[in-house]
Subunit: 351 residues, 4 copies
């Protein structure tokens, strides 16, 4: 049994961490903090946990989490940075859900997040928490930076064909579609149901922060400088991300077999990657609908011979493989548990 | 380990049985039948089970399920009746998801289902599979008739106050709201997305079959003849049922404490009943949204002093506590397992 | 041409008034006020009016609306009361969208709205703006109090059978279902898309204010004291209300012909009432889906011989027949225009 | 007054034609045909038209439409071709909603639609019915081929910057998102609400037929051979299309002013094109939500300086500007009416 704490447990990612960790056979949750709901039973804020969770929120103070071995920090960008430093100094391991330790280049924080990173040294010890790319580093990590949700999906779809040299690195256009929970748990006009229902709303079609992570991680496998377009859209669902990546073959078009081979080589042993391409079925390409609540990432592809294109797809649940589930997978890796522990819910159909 | 088979496994209830039983530590699934998809991998029809289920569908023949100890039959009304008879004759236990064995009075089948029941004797050995009412009988059952989804929710909300004499049995008006999965997995015009999205559509406002079950089960606790109105509505979600029961106190209005006491006495030890009434929270009354995928039934109530009313609420997932989950709960009771086995998924928030 | 102003034009009801009045051949809009958006083009707040509306919002001051002949006031409850008084004193006609003048009994405001009405005399000159009941009074009105949305639907369904003595006045249970726009245009946690999508959420199941209006208006036709249960539910759509009214016949059950005759007698000449009961079609009972954007109220009914019940249904668009459209219908009556003027959009199918 | 007939009036496009033409001051509808619903009142199939439309469907026979001056044909692809020929031979004008006359090159039909075109000569007289490109030809047309819905949106966004030489014709990737009504009015498993709700489902990511129209029409303005990727997605709404076009500048990036100028020059006089780019508002880029039911096409754009990209957006209602509304606009052009006649509904907000 490992003692864990969740620092910032009242938001949507915090709620998912609670849900997953409560079912984890090797975990004891010693604290779940919330500034706003301190003292209140957890199930009042996360109503799915009624009769499941007996915890109450505690104040977000270091003393309240200090007897944990690992702390999951789920705080707004820019807020984790000092907490994480303090927790590491006290000898705890930290799995950070925010963006504060994802980028390796300190100057990137100024460009993309608008603040000067106060602990550039920590960027060196932070491991980008995508098990499919960094499993060995995660095993030894003291600080894991869990990837951004849309970044995870994009990187998982892109890395195998970039690494194999199948796709043209100068022509990568990512069109993302995301549910409303991706905006967090604080009400906004953008997210108000009358304004948000039935939308297909472009937002930040240029300059979205997740492109920085995608660029960093995919570049590691690229032969040439990447050019990555990234344009997300809000669509009418609560959870889920689909990224559609419009790209081209490097030279001559690959066959479907080439693509199957490329992805199988990369992901055949991965517990949470499913390759989906079956033109005979309604569900023949990735769609987040079939994996909500699960830690799966579904990846698929198509070839367009008329216009010499390759189209890649990846679907995840933004709160699970895009956040809390992926974090628990990292936790399992660090502590050498079965990676599936706590993460075996397969999703619902239909839902 | 108990060997089980699912007879009729390609529909939505069959899919939920598969999902739940695959995670059940004491179950081996020996067969999943489907006339239409025989020979095809299960995950092609139930895409959430990709990488989770290695089974393929087999022909719906008695020989294919005969080495099971228990068969879950999930067939359209009127089709289970002969299959169930055959399976019982061969010594198997049957948990039937259909309506063919729910009613005790053989003549009811003519009135409500339009067929003369061919095996009225079996109605005597069939146990109405609502653990909260019939746990002891279920333990010894060879044939369990799993309740209708809207009936389950209604009965669970009604029985405690009817039994306690709190509500007037002559004034019970059930207004049900249900998601689209309640209509089964075969496409119809009614269920076509352009026609079904954003509806609040009354259907069968008089004469719906589930009233027969509700009448039968609630009458067992009533002092006088019941009068039960039942009028369902299709609303814009896939899973979930809310029943709102408009009723009146027998004589003087009860206090909220009376109602709390009444429900607590009935359900305090029940693993899947949650009492929900908390006016301080957004989620302060039952709503299926917070239990989708789970076997919970959330029950709540309100008193209207201005017009001398009591309003009762019950929310369930129609495919889980309203079908497959409840069936597995019965299975656990029969085999003396923890009732929660296979059923510990708590639902998602938000979703 | 009549000069009109809209006092409070940036909310959802204000936006609908603008949309409708812009297409009205006999209206000139001289002012649209908004405290928050004063100076900003209207179409920035109401994006459907881009290229349609050249107006900009002005400050909410009496001077800004004083050269209008009629002012539509669309303000939060309790705020219209003084504005309306001032406008009437200056000789303008007022069509008030709020609740401040709907009830005739001054003491009702203390009970239902929590304030002592400052101008009880005005309650005598205010006309409850439901043309189907008060057309003659509306013609001569200086002050029209436009009914509450859920009240309109309920009253329209109830009055004919209550007046005809068909239904038992002591057993009336209204179960309402409403879209998210009914809560107004200010974001809330309750209305946040992740929390509001796919809900069937009971709210204010006892004590909802609209019951006061329903009681007042239906009582005018009742022989005995009414008992009215009213319990609304939030469902997953933006616009629309369905009320399902569970009731009983007075003595012997009426025939369907009796009900047809009763409603036809009441509504045959009404331009915006449609009677809907056609069991052969998917759309055979009222559902707001088929009238969104229109001023129609669809009314239907069913008889339950098994349990001696009558079920009534009414569907409207809460922002049109439940607010702005109904207000314009009143305006047309006052100025002796065709009641349909500006209101001939029939709704979309599918949508 | 012009006598018109609708050949194939029971589908979703037929229903929209009826809705729009019923409100057109210069039109008399002499026939609305339906094989399946012949003899039945129109409002039974199109419930929004209850109390609005007194017509009944008639058999789909040439005699039934022959006294019309213009026939709108709304038939499945491949079925209009012979009807259209017959009607033209009898001297009627035809506005065809299908794909049978959209392409100029007869051999394209074999490639994209799988049939050899029987009347290649008619392809020469057919005018591609996009008023913004072909207004002068439409004025004189005997046969108008109304564009495909996703093609209309794509072409309207692409033509101005292609014509101006702003974007690189070899890098055009169209990512389309469309509502469920785009699949027509016949129920399918793909479109069944439990399967279709909350999806983001890629379909035909390569080889979709609309690319042929886009290629044909945009090529007319291109200096070099176009390369057009086109990949649509089903999203959770009933009506509406958003196309997001990922592209690059030809040489140096344009300024926002360049793009504004380019689109304004093209569309300033167009009654149904709205340019939308306002980063200060929630509704600051095109989204079909704000124009459902209207004939507007909203067009917007963004520049990504980090990765040298231009992103274009166009939103329409697939059944209006993408079909019936655009057809009526063509009709108005042919008969020299105000193009807005019958088409002045502005859309709803919120909805």
């Amino acid at each position: 049994m490992v003692k864990v704490a969740i620092y910032g447990a009242s938001g949507y990612v915090g709620g998912e961490l609670l849900r997953i960790l409560l079912s984890h056979s090797e975990v004891e949750i010693v604290a779940a903090t919330s500034k706003r709901f301190s003292g209140m039973p957890v199930h009042k804020v996360h109503p799915n946990l009624r009769k499941v969770c007996q915890l109450s929120f505690v104040e977000p103070k270091v003393e309240n989490v200090i007897n944990a071995e690992v702390v999951f920090t789920a705080l707004p960008h820019g807020q984790s940075v000092h907490i994480v430093k303090t927790l590491l100094d006290r000898g705890l391991k930290v799995i950070d859900m925010g963006a504060d330790f994802r980028l390796k280049d300190p100057s990137s924080y100024e460009k993309w997040y608008g603040f000067k990173h106060p602990y550039p040294d920590l960027l060196n010890i932070a491991v980008y928490g995508l098990p499919e790319l960094h499993r060995e580093d995660i095993k030894r990590a003291r600080l894991v930076a869990v990837p951004g949700c849309m970044a995870s999906a994009s990187i998982l779809a892109l890395v195998p064909p970039v690494k194999s040299g199948i796709i043209d690195e100068s022509q990568i256009f990512i069109d993302a579609k995301i549910g409303s929970s991706g905006a967090g748990s604080s009400p906004t006009l953008e997210g108000y149901h009358p304004e948000r229902y039935s939308v297909v709303r472009p937002y930040k079609p240029a300059g979205h922060r997740h492109v920085a992570e995608i660029f960093q991680e995919v570049s590691r496998f690229a032969k040439n400088r990447l050019s990555i377009g990234f344009s997300p859209h809000a669509v009418n669902m609560v959870r889920g991300i689909l990224v559609t990546i419009h790209t081209r073959p490097t030279e001559k078009p690959p066959s479907l077999q080439d693509l199957w081979r490329c992805y199988r080589a990369a992901y055949d042993k991965e517990p949470f990657i499913r390759l989906v391409r079956d033109p005979t079925m309604v569900h023949g390409l990735p769609d987040p609908k079939y994996l909500i609540g699960s830690n799966f990432a579904d990846i698929g592809f198509e070839i367009d011979l008329d216009f010499n294109r390759i189209i890649l797809f990846a679907a995840i649940d933004n709160l699970v493989k895009g956040a809390a589930g992926n974090a628990v997978q990292c936790f399992n890796i660090i502590f050498n548990y079965d990676e599936r522990e706590g993460l075996n819910f397969p999703g619902l159909h239909p839902a």
